[in-house]
């Protein structure tokens, strides 16, 4: 059984805004969501990179305590976007709880904020804090906390896939959700990812010399994907969710078809866990095209992973050039948000959906002088009108995990 899979609702909380209007406005105005790193009283003083893709606006959560008690900050993002998507979908409560809707959702760590509180108990005066580790701390911090807080809040009884593969967490969730629906295991999947404000992630990448450090006084000027003066990634936060549905069912109930997922690939480099791998990435892009049964010339836009690390952008450019030449326009959307880690795949997919829907392409922010080693691509030259039919969303993670999602404009899919 092979069925068509469509996206019928989406929502994202990002460093450049929450919801389509705000996010599109930031993309069109060239507004960065990168801000100075907040002092956490623990690691910040030791970190060289002082920038972060920050969600610094209030969000009106309306969760009851019975739901909040098992949620760390990461689950707040996850449940909020999941709630938005379910409301927008118009799906009946009967369907949501029928077992035919599943959840594929993840985060990089679970909740590092809650984990940090647990460790504080250990490293402070244990005798006085014997009961400080709460009964729900595990539920708030465990690696599948986003997925199961969503199922709990909305009574979802279908399959649960809790991805946790760093930067490919949410793109894997969408890809695995797509396969669930495509092959008839579920009729719909709520997919996405979230990651909360976390300085430990910054510290890790900082130690690996992968973080941006040259723009601490001018945060909005970094990251700089493909730029000659790029100096590394900027960690960020946020959440995003999409609803995948079987096409015929979505059409029957009159759901808006935002896009069709036409292809997905996921592979591993089979070796080094950190270094980008040209062969592995190139293979992913080919596999996705094969899955979609389309030619490279059919793709007219690429949302590149493009973290702005020195080596990563070059390897990705080589892979894109090898598969696509200089046909599709290419944008590194992390230039707006920073690298939102586990949620980057879904956020970049949603940004791409918005651009498809509103007929424009945003350029890579801070791309002032293209690195000659990345210059063989067709970089989106500036904010431009564009009718995108098929787009590729690419993400690559520590651990050598690569993903590629191919989506077709909803107007074309109907």
């Amino acid at each position: 059984m092979k069925r068509r899979v469509v996206i019928t609702a989406c929502s994202a909380i990002t460093p450049i805004g929450y919801g389509q209007t705000n996010i599109v406005d930031s993309l069109q105005q060239g507004r960065s969501g990168v801000k100075p790193l907040r002092d956490d009283g623990l690691l910040t003083g030791h970190i060289h990179s002082r920038v972060f893709g920050t969600v610094d606006y209030p969000i009106a959560y309306e969760f009851t305590r019975s739901h909040r008690k098992t949620m760390g900050p990461v689950a707040f993002y996850a449940c909020q976007v999941a709630k938005d998507v379910l409301i927008a979908s118009g799906l009946s409560q009967e369907f949501i709880t029928s077992g035919r809707l599943g959840v594929a959702f993840g985060s990089t760590h679970g909740s590092p904020t809650v984990q940090r509180e647990i460790y504080k108990t250990f490293f402070n005066n244990l005798e006085e804090k014997f009961s400080s580790i709460g009964a729900v701390d595990y539920l708030r911090s465990m690696v599948h906390t986003t997925a199961v807080n969503i199922t709990r809040m909305f009574g979802i009884t279908g399959r649960v896939i809790a991805t946790s593969t760093a930067c490919t967490t949410s793109s894997q969730a969408i890809g695995f959700g797509y396969e669930m629906v495509k092959y008839g295991m579920q009729d719909a999947m709520l997919c996405g990812g979230a990651d909360e404000y976390d300085t430990t992630t910054v510290a890790v990448f900082d130690n690996l010399l992968a973080c941006s450090v040259d723009y601490n006084q001018t945060p909005e000027r970094t990251p700089r994907p493909f730029d000659k003066k790029r100096d590394g990634l900027v960690v960020g936060e946020g959440g995003g969710a999409v609803l995948l549905e079987e096409y015929e069912a979505a059409k029957r109930r009159g759901a808006p078809i935002l896009a069709e997922v036409i292809g997905f690939a996921c592979n591993n480099n089979g070796g080094d866990l950190i270094l980008p791998n040209l062969q592995g990435i190139t293979s992913t892009l080919h596999l996705a095209l094969q899955d979609a049964a389309i030619n490279p010339t059919d793709v007219d836009y690429i949302s590149a992973h493009a973290t702005a690390t020195k080596m990563g952008d070059i390897i990705e450019s080589q892979a894109i050039a090898a598969v696509y030449g200089n046909g599709p326009h290419v944008t590194g959307l992390k230039s707006y948000t920073g690298h939102t880690m586990g949620t980057c795949g879904v956020i970049e997919l949603i940004m791409t959906l918005y651009m498809m829907a509103e007929g424009f392409l945003a350029p890579t922010l801070n791309l002032e002088e293209v690195d000659p080693r990345c210059a063989m691509l067709r970089h989106t030259p500036g904010l431009m009108e564009a009718k995108t039919t098929i787009a590729s969303v690419q993400n690559f993670a520590f651990g050598g995990v690569n993903t590629c999602l191919l989506i077709k404009n909803g107007r074309e899919a109907v």
Partner: protein, 85 residues
């Protein structure tokens, strides 16, 4: 601690940490306030901090029979008496 002091402290915890609205001493905790087994474990942790001592496994298992705030107060008085002996 006297029962009155225990009652005041427990009511404060239930209102502040568990967001109880107008708790009655004989309200069924689950039916009226949605207090579940996770909450019960969480409350025991707060009780340990309040009393300044750890509860034994047996004492904690005994707490699972609690249904009302008055049950909590009876339970705490027994714990205190046991500690004094």
């Amino acid at each position: 601690m006297t029962r009155d002091i225990l009652q005041e402290k427990i009511l404060t915890i239930l209102v502040q940490d568990f967001e109880f609205q107008q708790p009655g001493l004989d309200d069924n905790l689950r039916d009226v306030h949605g207090f579940d087994s996770i909450d019960a474990i969480e409350l025991l942790g707060k009780i340990e901090i309040m009393l300044g001592c750890s509860l034994t496994r047996e004492e904690k298992e005994k707490a699972m029979e609690i249904r009302t705030i008055n049950d909590i107060l009876d339970y705490l008085e027994k714990i205190q008496q046991g500690r004094v002996r």
